[in-house]
Symmetry: C2
DNA sequence: ACGCATTTGTTCGTATGTATT
DNA sequence: TAATACATACGAACAAATGCG
């Protein structure tokens, strides 16, 4: 391991006016350095990061300080600790729950078991609202994907997905349709884009004619509208997803802490 | 290391049937003891609990072990740490955000500023579904509250609230209408019931005639239906709340981690 | 099957820094 | 200024889980 002398050192910045932080605890600095390594791809999703001892040596801090930094990254779901094995970069590729971000559940507890059906996959220029959400300029290239999730024969979810055009350059219908497993896994494995968190805005809307036809409900039927903005390392927004959920036999579940 | 007289002692509980943990780390035991003290009312919401040093002495463990237990209770929002002052029991009575559990937001960022209007407050016998949710027998007494939240003159939320009848014995319309501030504060101050967490099930529904009239929308208009089950210490369910939200100018916001 | 090395998990102790009163 | 309380940081030891020889 390289020498890499002390991270940034507290060093009491002389802040006169407003009380800016201007200083952060050692473990926060370590956390920041770890995040940057994740962002830079030094360790890829699914891989193990160096042991706490190694990291402590590399950053010239104690094991306990590394531990606190790793703890926080683990509670934020960027890392996963496994006793006796090591600490691993979180991944969508080997997850117990199929859909980590999908909060929709059948009203009876049963396992979801949803089938995918790909409807569209096309490159187009970003509409104004999509561009704004993804931090692009209006007209910049994006990939548009439309797909459905079905429970048996009945449609349950209609998703319109807009992806950052540059990051997802080679994405095509062929590439998607040949794929088993969650979309976020494909993003990760094929494009090296790992989603770390997301934010959703939920509304009740009435189905218009086209949506009603696709979801096999009456026009005007109430649907749950879920706008999801997903972010990768560094909180960079890379996906905007507009979902319409049928909620006659499913519900969106949320824990309030 | 010290002899460690130990608080509860792991002591291999003789669990015959199911594979229970039967052992838990010291800090988990301390956490459990602290939770029990909270539940028993030894420290009330808003009060300070003893310092880490005192707790360490009381439980015969190190300060670090107490710290870890308190850390977890703080991340679960049961306790609030304040550097230099102490650790306090979380309370709804002195909160920055008015409604801790209400995730509804105006589409433009502006502050909510919702007015309350009490419609009903009555004691009745629990319907089967309410009883089941609250862990009561069908027909047991519950308090039913119906109220609205309005943004200016337009209704936004219609809530039907069912409360555990025994715990909220003296609750009446007079007592509520005279009250400023969030309902959960009233519950806490007047009835000693502090809500620690909740779980919501969200659907899109069509407004029936009565709901439409109250919320001033067309019959059949899409509404967000939010069923919330709130729990106090020990995860005891004490409130079932059925909310109907108008989402033309508001949305339900959720963070996915 | 057994033991050993590795890695994270738990617990203790101590010292020092920062915020509050 | 001093006392108190939480926050940070270091070091050490042992426990538990894992994987390998």
């Amino acid at each position: 391991m390289a020498a890499q002398p002390s991270p940034v050192l507290p060093e009491r910045a002389p802040e006169p006016g407003v009380a800016a932080p201007a200083f952060s605890p050692l473990y926060q600095q370590i956390k920041e350095l770890l995040t940057r390594s994740l962002q830079g791809g030094e360790w890829k999703p699914g891989e193990a990061i160096p042991s706490e001892i190694e990291l402590a040596a590399r950053f010239r801090v104690s094991q306990g300080t590394v531990r606190k930094a790793v703890d926080e990254l683990a509670t934020e779901n960027l890392l996963v600790r496994r006793q006796g094995k090591g600490t691993f970069v979180a991944t969508h590729a080997e997850e117990q729950t199929q859909y980590r971000f999908l909060r929709l559940q059948p009203d009876d507890g049963a396992a979801s078991g949803l089938q995918r059906r790909l409807l569209e996959c096309r490159r187009l220029r970003a509409p104004a609202d999509v561009a704004r959400a993804l931090g692009l300029k209006s007209g910049d290239p994006v990939v548009w994907v439309r797909r459905m999730l079905l429970s048996g024969a009945t449609p349950v979810v209609l998703d319109d997905i807009y992806l950052h055009g540059v990051l997802f350059k080679g994405l095509s219908a062929e590439r998607m349709s040949g794929y088993k497993g969650p979309m976020y896994r494909l993003f990760e494995v094929e494009f090296g884009v790992h989603m770390v968190r997301a934010e959703e805005k939920i509304r009740a809307v009435a189905a218009d004619a086209a949506q009603a036809a696709l979801l096999q409900v009456a026009p005007g039927a109430p649907l749950l509208s879920v706008d999801r903005l997903s972010r990768t390392y560094g909180d960079k927004a890379v996906e905007l997803r507009r979902g319409l959920y049928r909620t006659e036999h499913h519900h969106y579940r949320n824990e309030l802490l």
